[in-house]
Subunit: 246 residues, 2 copies
């Protein structure tokens, strides 16, 4: 592994894990203890503030405020990102592809045009996928941008989440639920949660939610596999269903 890559890997690992030991890092980046120590030294020279506690329970800790750089991506890195997304899209259309597309569009815009052309040719050659904007599968445009992170944070921390909800008739209510799942009914996204007030499950269209707020002081128990095969929680939909076969 490259020196540069290893440095990045170490910084990321420290950012991610909060604290780590030299031996753990050495193992993680596939280098020797000595090399990691040299890397740490180099990073410190570059301005990273890395605290070190010695002894049992000790370890290295990166001062999060110490470095503020702008992400200046090189063209090959951008290509790699693009290819990644294209590959993912080819492998299966995860609901994030549209967002990723938006990000990629920005990157593409910033690239010199001849490079973009190269990239397209390259992708076509690899049969990984087209760059053209994906057919609209999920309407996230009207969604509160804070909602997904809030939902994920709430889900992970098992905290309640509170938000304003505007229902189909325009009535506004303030809800407080346990986030349980995310339902994608293209093009709509739903947040599914248990409402302790109503002692019932509720679902909410994500584009009708506003001002999400994670209630950090609260806590609920997560169910790991909420339901099993052939349970059918969708009976409410039966009445509406109409099928036709050609």
């Amino acid at each position: 592994m490259n020196v540069r890559l290893r440095h990045d890997a170490i910084v990321r690992s420290l950012r991610r894990n909060g604290t780590s030991t030299i031996d753990a890092l050495a193992d993680e980046v596939g280098a020797s203890r000595r090399t990691v120590l040299r890397d740490i030294s180099a990073l410190r020279d570059e301005g990273y503030v890395i605290h070190a506690d010695v002894g049992r329970g000790g370890g290295l800790q990166l001062d999060p405020q110490s470095v503020q750089t702008n992400a200046r991506l090189t063209v090959p890195e951008v290509f790699a990102l693009l290819i990644s997304v294209a590959a993912m899209r080819a492998a299966g259309n995860l609901p994030f592809s549209e967002l990723a597309d938006a990000g990629l569009a920005k990157i593409e815009k910033a690239l010199p045009s001849d490079k973009v052309k190269d990239l397209r040719a390259f992708l076509e050659c690899l049969h990984i996928g087209q760059l053209s904007p994906l057919q609209d599968l999920s309407d996230m445009s009207k969604m509160d941008p804070d909602l997904l992170p809030a939902f994920e944070a709430a889900f992970l921390g098992r905290h309640f989440i509170r938000f304003d909800y505007r229902d189909a008739k325009g009535r506004k209510t303030r809800r407080e639920i346990e986030p349980q799942a995310m339902l994608v009914l293209p093009p709509l996204w739903y947040l599914v949660g248990w409402d302790p007030m109503r002692a019932d499950f509720r679902h909410f269209r994500m584009d009708r939610i506003s001002n999400p707020e994670v209630l950090a002081g609260t806590h609920f128990r997560r169910r790991h596999v909420p339901f099993e095969d052939d349970v059918c929680p969708y009976s409410a939909l039966k009445a509406e269903n109409r099928t036709s076969r050609l």
Copy 2:
């Protein structure tokens, strides 16, 4: 002189003088002609557009617009990119994963630390995996790679989709359903569909589906808003639900 410093010096020189020859640059940075040529090549790989005119009065010229790859991404966009790359890396180590990693490292480095925390939570919640040594992908890895594209195609074309399904008891059945939704209950993904044979909604764990097949000759009517606010299709879950408030 360091490689990086030399690269910087070359770029600065080209910026300052507008145009320069290889020999002049070699003299300026104190390296050989060959080394400067290699540096130029490296800079081009990084995205610098350096025009070269040959012959008398020729020389190197830096395209001033080529350097700014200032793609300013929103945090959700960055998230989407990261997820894409994580998914790709999990799907199989394409040769680009290392480069993509480097790009991600920069993005991660540039994010405020609290956002990085959000990101980690987000990824963990989606169970796509960790950013660095990617861990298990649980159900995604066992998912038939053809499934999601098939689902999307079937959904968009309103075609029926047929597949083999292995239920919790290991029984195998061939199903034929209208694809209706995708349910994400971390870490499991479900495909939700109307089963006309059973005249009921069914959901299927995506990792238990195999040999998906879109029935192009068939057609069903799509419901645009399959269910509305305050309908609760999750009654089956009620019995299992336990909440506690701290």
